[in-house]
Symmetry: C2
Subunit: 411 residues, 2 copies
Amino acid sequence: MQQLGQRARQAARHMARASTGAKNAALLAIADALQRSEAALRAANDRDLAAGRAAGLDEALLDRLLLDARGIAGMADGLRQIAALPDPVGAVDELRARPSGIRVGRMRVPLGVVGIIYESRPNVTADAAGLCLKSGNACILRGGSEALHSNLAIAACIAAGLEAAGLPATAVQVLEITDRAAVGLLAGLAEYVDIIVPRGGKGLIQAVMQQARVPVLKHLDGVCHVYIDDGADPDMARRIVLNAKTHRYGVCNALETLLVAAGEAAVLPAIAADMAEKGVELRGCERARAQVPGMTPASEADWYAEYLAPILAVRVVDGLDKAMEHIARYGSAHTEAIITRDLGRADRFLREVDSASVMVNASTRFADGFEYGLGAEIGISTDKLHARGPVGLEGLTSQKWVVLGNGEVRT
Amino acid sequence: MQQLGQRARQAARHMARASTGAKNAALLAIADALQRSEAALRAANDRDLAAGRAAGLDEALLDRLLLDARGIAGMADGLRQIAALPDPVGAVDELRARPSGIRVGRMRVPLGVVGIIYESRPNVTADAAGLCLKSGNACILRGGSEALHSNLAIAACIAAGLEAAGLPATAVQVLEITDRAAVGLLAGLAEYVDIIVPRGGKGLIQAVMQQARVPVLKHLDGVCHVYIDDGADPDMARRIVLNAKTHRYGVCNALETLLVAAGEAAVLPAIAADMAEKGVELRGCERARAQVPGMTPASEADWYAEYLAPILAVRVVDGLDKAMEHIARYGSAHTEAIITRDLGRADRFLREVDSASVMVNASTRFADGFEYGLGAEIGISTDKLHARGPVGLEGLTSQKWVVLGNGEVRT
């Protein structure tokens, strides 16, 4: 593990000075290698699938594990898209002249070594490696044990592509130890790893957080809120609530608790009808239930719940302040939206709600790196330091100060 | 401690939405209160000084503890300067229109609650509180026990100023528990504290790092390097080395190890003469000693040393790559400078040296928030995430995503 860390650190120094051209050439060569190796990749994946079936994995897990022709083409396309993104590394902010005579600016540089810990989907191997490569970082990838053969086959293509472009193959290393202990080992390599990105369920993320001795880029929960403000357009409110709750249930930017200003509670029967059509269960406070007979009563636990399922908590609140209090108390600082026509309250919501993404008159489902224009996404962070919300290439970099002088000294 | 944390969290929500005008009014009112309260401040400081003398504190420590008329005026001036700085909070980056119809940007927001742990200098109380206040944060300050009366007297002026401006006095709380256990308590308040800034010696910073359950903004060492490149102007090299080493010895951006390209080793006798005149001891590698008879031999430990004293380690290296290898191996990622006439090597040094500040033809002593134009400095960080190098108001803020829509939903 120490050796692996040392190799990554060495590769990181090489990657930090790699040209944009070499990095893009590697990304395209990896994409080609993946498509050329379809037979080998599918054979490796078949071994994982057979072992998974023998171990009694359920269909959902086997489905996530599957790497078919479409999945392979998808990985290759993803890498080509990353190659087309601008290179963040080396960009220097405005250089400002200081009274002392020096000029001062900031240069964007890679973080160094990124550890990625993920679960069954083998495509994460190519996706995460591509983002680290483009941002000039080395990475150590620890995928799930059930996908090991698939991941190693993908790693062989990555190594071939890196070497074809004259870059060190050790810039992307896939751990062959896949048990839980490897999580602790990787998370504890403070000397050789600059940041850990866990991608997976809450259990995995909590395990990484507990063991990490380096910063972790993560979000634990996505208890997202929509607040329907006094005087909101009821049709817009219905449309956004429907989309935020039912577009996809199992995602972190899905709506989980709907807050409605008391004056607009009359919109609830229509929303309840929309939800009933989609098979979504409503759980409401007393005032919400007064509008929709038969609604399940919400308990305190419902306000904290990230259902990731066709269930929606509903609470009637006395205006904006109470809505923001609810969000501050029960929310997870991920994504919240207000539906309003009032400029002042929109502005207060934007300024005062302390979440990674705050929205006016839009669906929480937009909280996503592609939708925000980042081109790609390594993860979503609900922490305040470094990167917040959807994190793309820039979040895998840092800025150092550069000073240009002509022999100046301090007096 | 929990109550204190809760009060800080509540105050932080208030401060986050405070107007620039109110924050500046508070800063000016605190400055006035400090100057009006000179007698009370000096009486409180006398109590600390008397207790310090009785406890046998040495003169250097008593000197740091002293708060005289000049010190009080200095604190007040510092606060007025912070009031004059631009408010980082609320600024929104370019809003970009996305194909979906939403507009996306980032808004700068306070971090929330900042914990500051410091040692004997009481002026840090006003200085740190002022920076936190201007950046819209609440703060909890834990100063040294030897300065408790002084700190509480300053805190009374801060509370008066906050209240005069209609802001919550609990936005700045000074801990009355000053033993080491308080460090652990504050560093462990993960629910109520967003970041800890330790200001003081290495022992304090290590204690905070070990106990912190929240991010720590810090630098542990400043093992700064100057590298004299092949073909460098020898006069410029002498001037910069003299300034970087001898301008002040006890500061983190002072030069500690001088690296000289083998072709330029002949500059060493002149540098040795400059250093001898200032009483600086040189400790050199074999090749450095060949140039300067009588130089003390350097041991491996000297390359790692942050002397903070009139001692300079000197090593002759075979060009840029070896210099950068030395810095990567022994350095502390704080500040390094190259003296060169070669554009290509200057560029490689800037890009490849992985330190918070990298300089061309300038003294390492410039690594400072005021010299960089930040207007003020809460500390210097050698970590890569969030803020790097000198940290001013911006480093006490974060950016959240804002999305403006007209009813858009995701398809």
